[in-house]
């Protein structure tokens, strides 16, 4: 027993003398704690996850991009200038001379053609971005052309609004990839997709060094970037799922930035002092979908009543504090055509009279599907359960894993569905999925969000299609504004909030700015 006690004492002594692992992070390396376990494939023609967009936005360059500080403004990137033909069918881009990929290969118009072709030919989730322009794997050899090394041209099938076409091209899925490098990694005609899932072939300010899923991702500066050399040598993302662990790491200086802190944790940091906090509204909407296959929800009065039964302000001040702001339209606030229109607030009396008019004064039962992984969604559902109970509607909360909830939603098996929707590109047309639906049968070719809720309105669908062709931006703007107002009282949605990204960081980090979308959070100018 004495020996054992001695061993214990030695062990304790060892623990006490163990080197404290609190060396400050190196000055040329930025270390970020955030949750990026949604990352699946790093191939721009395949990726569709928020964190991957941020990665691709820093590793690749697109022809044009959105100005992170003013989303109505387009910045030249790989392309120096561009023009559309008078008939609105041909677009010509002049490329910046002297651009190089990370491999050292020169970036030419042939690479642009290859990048666009593989987006269409691979035909994966984001392929609709290019097929919506009328460019498909069948016609891509005729529609995409390298006129010379620095001139790229493509033809669209209809005279779309030019602002729409240019806005679409700013999506990271149109990132220009290194065709020479990818061709050397091609297997079985996969356009290098198998290899690019876990590697990179870009020309952006940072080079992907390594990616260990669920663990770390390392980026290194590209000294040959056309826009100048990045100030940091290295960026490390650490996947820390637990919020409180993120806060501990930030407080002890082991990470420079924490990305997923709750409002309470941010309060704690502010109280303690010595930390900076930045936030930017995102283009992601949090909303409730109401399925018209449910006989109660098929009645527009019931849907209108439910819109009056959400405690927008109360939730924004409590469960959703710092993470969401009220937005009852289908457009994020920074978009062309957005109008500040939030007509709904919690009004139980009004909801009661609407339900009485519909003949449901005694109430009924409904269920709501949601992903259990997000506490704030559970909070919203519980609040809704309370307010619905006040008018006699019994709400059953079906809290499931994210994929199950989504499976039900996609199969139109829900009553209510609570979830988020992020935009695909910075143009109002991207969110016409909330408005347009041209086939409400059970197995149509296209299944927009309006279809998922079994709602169809031919007039509004036609209006949305017309706005896509409107070449006058001023008319486009007022057109979408009118559409919002007509849509709000009849749609199958209760639009609730717009997401806000928040980051807390050490004051020694300079120029860190969260963009309005994942691909616009850029690290080029960040320093320590």
């Amino acid at each position: 027993m004495k020996k054992f006690l001695a061993a214990l004492a030695i062990g304790a002594g060892l623990a006490l003398t163990m080197p404290a692992a609190h060396a400050a992070t190196p000055d040329d390396t930025l270390i970020e704690a955030w949750r990026f376990d949604d990352m699946i494939s790093l191939d721009p023609a395949e990726m569709y996850e928020i964190s991957t967009y941020e990665l691709v936005g820093n590793v690749y360059v697109t022809l044009v991009s959105i100005d992170p500080h003013d989303t109505s403004h387009i910045l030249p990137r790989v392309a120096e200038s561009w023009s559309a033909s008078d008939d609105g069918l041909t677009y010509t881009f002049k490329l910046r001379a002297g651009q190089k990929f990370h491999s050292g290969n020169a970036l030419t118009a042939a690479d642009v053609v290859y990048s666009f072709q593989r987006l269409a030919a691979l035909d994966l989730a984001p392929a609709f971005l290019i097929t919506d322009l009328g460019i498909s794997k069948e016609n891509m050899n005729d529609t995409l052309k390298a006129v010379d090394d620095l001139t790229f041209q493509f033809k669209v099938d209809k005279p779309y609004a030019p602002s729409y076409v240019i806005n679409v091209l700013s999506a990271s899925n149109f990132a220009i990839v290194d065709s020479k490098l990818l061709k050397s990694h091609e297997t079985n005609g996969d356009w290098g997709n198998g290899w690019l899932k876990t590697n990179s072939a870009g020309s952006g300010p940072f080079i992907l060094k390594s990616w260990k899923p669920d663990e770390t991702l390392v980026l290194e500066a590209n000294p040959d970037y056309y826009g100048g050399k990045p100030k940091l040598k290295r960026i490390v993302w650490r996947n820390i799922a637990e919020e409180s662990a993120q806060r501990l790491l930030l407080e002890s200086g082991d990470v420079d930035i924490a990305r997923n802190l709750s409002a309470d944790q941010l309060d704690g940091l502010r109280k303690k002092g010595g930390f900076e906090v930045t936030s930017t509204p995102q283009s992601t909407s949090l909303y409730i979908g109401m399925n018209l296959k449910n006989k109660y929800l098929a009645d527009p009065k019931v849907r209108e009543a439910i819109r009056y039964l959400v405690d927008y302000q109360g939730l924004e001040k409590t469960a959703l504090r710092e993470r969401y702001v009220t937005n009852q339209t289908f457009l994020p606030s920074s978009f062309l055509g957005y109008v500040d229109s939030n007509p709904y607030k919690l009004d139980v009396a009004k909801a009661k009279s609407l339900l009485a008019e519909a003949g449901y004064a005694d109430g009924f039962e409904l269920s709501i599907d949601l992903a259990s992984t997000f506490q704030e969604r559970m909070d919203i559902a519980q609040s809704l359960q309370g307010t619905l109970a006040q008018v006699g509607i019994k709400l059953k909360i079906l809290s499931e894993d994210a994929k199950t909830a989504l499976t039900n939603y996609r199969a139109r098996k829900h009553d209510l569905y609570l979830g988020t929707w992020g935009v695909d590109y910075f143009d109002p047309n991207t969110n016409m999925v909330f408005v347009a639906n041209s086939d409400n049968s059970d197995d149509p070719a296209s299944k927009p969000l309006s279809w998922r809720n079994s709602w169809i309105d031919p007039d509004m669908t036609a209006k949305a299609q017309a706005l896509l062709m409107e070449r006058d931006d001023a008319k486009r703007k007022t057109g979408y504004q009118d559409l919002i107002k007509a849509w709000q009282p009849v749609s199958p949605f209760a639009m609730l909030y717009q997401e806000v990204q928040v980051a807390a960081y050490l004051p020694k980090v300079k120029n860190f700015f969260l963009g309005p979308s994942a691909e616009t959070t850029l690290y080029l100018d960040v320093s320590k």
Partner: protein
Amino acid sequence: MSKPSAASATETDAIPPATSGASSHQRARRLLLAGWETLISVAATFFGLLFITFVIGRLMPADPLLAIVGERASEETYNRIREELGLNLPIWRQFLIYAWDVVRGDFGMSVLTARPVSEDLLRVFPATAELSIVGIFIGVVAGVPLGVWAAVYRNSFLDHVMRVLGLVGYSVPIFWLGIMGLLVFYLELQWVAGPGRLEVYLDGQVPTVTGMILVDSLIAGDWEVFNNALSHIILPASLLGYYSLAYISRMTRSLMLEQLNQDYLLTARIKGMRQSRLIWRHAFGNILVPLITVIALSFAGLLEGSVLTETVFAWPGIGRYITNALLNADMNAVLGGTIVVGTVFVGVNLLSDVLYRIVDPRAR
């Protein structure tokens, strides 16, 4: 916790002790037969495991294709990928294809990581194994002597303290204790390193041999990495160690108490045998065999049950891998991970049987 090895324990007891009269030929035959039986039972267990995980995977309400093609893929893409992956085939054919692939060591591709599941498992399993081994080491080194002590000095102050410690170990969530540990030992006292296995700037400094950083850094002779890894593992492993300590010490105490009441000990004591020899050689020697089962079970429990520890400490292990895969309907990863954990379970049980035979002369 189930007790799969209890069954095999009676099985080994049932083998009649080798008599001196048995010929060497008979003995060899019996040994061969026992080996053959073990092999068949392992194979049957493995096949059952494969079948059940596959069926559960298919019964899950989440659409696995959704994980692959994403929420916004067109119907055309959806159907094409469905066919490519053979998900349109009848279930029994899918199972046969899957089983044949697994037998050849191919668990398919993970949707979440875009890598072969076997490659992922080689990365995450050593992380968990390392954590569990250090954890069980702490649990055994502290738990066994404490359990013996508590039995010898029954109802003493120490015995009461042990009981309270055990109670805390059973009732306090590991999640909370982990955060508290980090707050005290990492943030305030700065004795240990924080979440993760290694400081980022040391990542990749030693070549991967076993995947266990402590071992790999020793092989490479890199003390900086070893110290850093040790500083990271000590807190989560102590936490796991504490939980297994609670179980191990309680079991040791009750096994020991049983022995201390036996007549042979009383006789030995009357004959004037020294107390330490009495306890450690005689009584302890007799509880060693059931204790091995206790430790093996609690080790296997650590391997599968460290999900929360791995989450709190950002430990990239198999528990977190399987959980994440489940939440995202990444079925190949779920099945692969489950089979590995199941195989380890079977392996640990087998190992405890073998140890049993070595330690217990009657089973030889």
